[in-house]
């Protein structure tokens, strides 16, 4: 059963605001969506079945609102991936080989611990992505939408999405390596 709606703002307001802001990067819109989320939750409170935590349920509602925002806002971001300025040094040379080869991961990528420092580094690197790459990456990797859904939301082709995700991942790899971030296994802690 949900808690008293009069307690929702104190209990969940700031967390929802931060969640919305990290996706939208617009405080005003984020605050609007938090309000919309609470109003929607109030109307749908009898549909909360208690199988998830209360906040998880709110975030689920907020997530749909954020996706609607992406649908409405997609025309505001009309830059094509090829127009995004390439970094000073592209990842590959003229022969298609790595300019700066990836370093070796010192841990098993299937047996790691997500430390707070590492998580913040990932978020920071994601936030530094050019907007069209960031939107695609967040919808695909943070929202866990499949590629068809992302294409519909952003109104781009699957090829275009593939390019955006590819370039986002290359930039993230370099950003994390530059930050000296390596995953840690539970044995190493």
């Amino acid at each position: 059963m949900l808690s008293d709606p009069e307690t929702w703002v104190e209990r969940h307001g700031d967390a929802l605001l931060r969640y919305a802001y990290t996706h939208l990067r617009d405080r005003s819109r984020a605050a609007d969506l938090v309000q919309d989320t609470f109003v929607a939750a109030l109307k749908a409170c009898d549909r909360f079945d208690g199988r998830s935590a209360e906040r998880t349920w709110f975030i689920g509602i907020l997530r749909h609102k954020i996706i609607d925002q992406y649908r409405r806002g997609r025309r505001e971001v009309s830059v094509a991936p090829e127009d995004v300025a390439e970094q000073e040094q592209p990842d590959f040379d003229a022969r298609g080989e790595w300019r700066t080869p990836p370093g070796e991961l010192e841990a098993d990528p299937e047996n790691y611990v997500l430390t707070g420092e590492l998580a913040r580094a990932i978020r920071s690197c994601v936030d530094e992505l050019p907007e069209i790459f960031r939107q695609a990456f967040i919808l695909r990797e943070f929202q866990q939408l499949d590629t068809d859904e992302v294409c519909k939301i952003l109104e781009i082709t699957s090829t275009n999405l593939s390019v955006r995700l590819h370039r986002a991942r290359l930039r993230l790899r370099r950003c994390l390596e530059h930050a000296g971030m390596q995953p840690t296994t539970s044995e190493g802690m």
């Binding site: 298609g96 990797e141 590819h166």
Partner: protein
């Protein structure tokens, strides 16, 4: 040889695409052949798969991460307005 196994750039694209859905067989084989021969691309595959797994298993945490939102809170006016809407149901 590069026509058969492709370049590192092409392989990196294939590695990324493989995270989002199955590759056509010819592209998958080409990628595997290149990975067999290229330790740098094998490293990139490990890194890309790791990042993908982290996002998959920790998507809510990552979306809620403090970072520059650590001090982000609702203003007093926003709280009042929200309370009014929720309390006046």
């Amino acid at each position: 040889m590069k026509q058969i196994v492709g370049t590192c750039e092409e392989t990196a694209e294939a590695i990324s695409a493989a995270l989002d859905g199955p590759l056509p067989w010819y592209r998958r084989i080409r990628m595997r052949l290149h990975l067999w021969a290229c330790r740098f691309c094998r490293r990139y595959e490990v890194q890309a798969k790791w990042l993908h797994a982290v996002c998959e298993h920790h998507c809510d945490e990552l979306a809620d991460i403090a970072g520059d939102t650590e001090d982000l809170t609702l203003t007093a006016e926003e709280r009042e307005e929200l309370q009014a809407r929720l309390g006046g149901r």
